[in-house]
Amino acid sequence: MQQSDKTISKFRKKGCRFYRLAAFLFLLEILSGGLHAAETVWGCLLYASNDGQKTDIPARLAQYGDRLNNAFGYSNLHVLGQGQTLVKTVEQNWLIFGGDIKIQFTSLQKAADGKYLVGLELFQGEKQVIETQARFSRDSPLFIRGPEWREGQIIIVVMMVKS
């Protein structure tokens, strides 16, 4: 009887140790999750013009339509292409659009306040145009006025989105 009590007690102690370890790992994962998580960057190419066509932009940018028209001096916006990529801290990742316009993400860090520090380079063909360091919050687009095309202007949009 006493022997079986001892065995049960030994197993209980082992079970307790397992739960403690699991709890510790769970908390560690919660605390460190933000530091190492891969983040998704979304981007699109817009064409701003006065061609009289109806404005057609991604839903994510719907609230910026009128302000973009005012800021760039055109009446219409059309989406030419869009895409997203998973950016990891130690890897370089690309967003590639039509017309040989590409963005390379060279770094990404998530700060304690939840903002992202992003290093990006814009290429037109094989030529690197700019190198930029920016601080983003999620769902806050950065607009880049790109090259002229036809009767209008190319606008490049980059933003961090939820994976």
Binding site: L80, F136, I144, P147
Partner: protein, 163 residues
Amino acid sequence: MKTFEEKYTVWLDGGLAREEAAVFESEHKEIAQDKSDFLKLKSLLKENCQAKTLDNSDFFNAEIMTQIDRESVRAPKSASRAWLGLPRIAWGGAFALAAGIVLFFTMIPRGDLSNPRSGYVAEVLKTKTLDPKVHATVDSQKDMTIIKLEGLDKVPKDKDMNR
């Protein structure tokens, strides 16, 4: 003068003298089988109903009462230990707290909810052009940041920008 019951009991216990027993058996032939049944039952009870011997035969009642008390306390205590032990409550609390923190950060929207763009952050920390012909200026408007590039090569009109 003994009654039949008294004589029968003494006969079963083997207390009658041989002659007296022979007379009793000849007078009551129907009880012949009773003695062998009684002996069988007696041996069975002896084999299967062993009385537990106590370590100390002194203070018999006190020992019995102590044992009853011990066993009546043990059952509810082990049940309460299984569900309401202090370490389990502490770990349960820690798990609940961790789950609460996770839910708070993932489910509850923060910032000024009256204005969906109040959380906008797209801050250009530095930007550098690698082509001396290209100039970059940063236009930080309220809730909209634009990098304006001047001097970029115009994209040929026939270039397919849709991709």
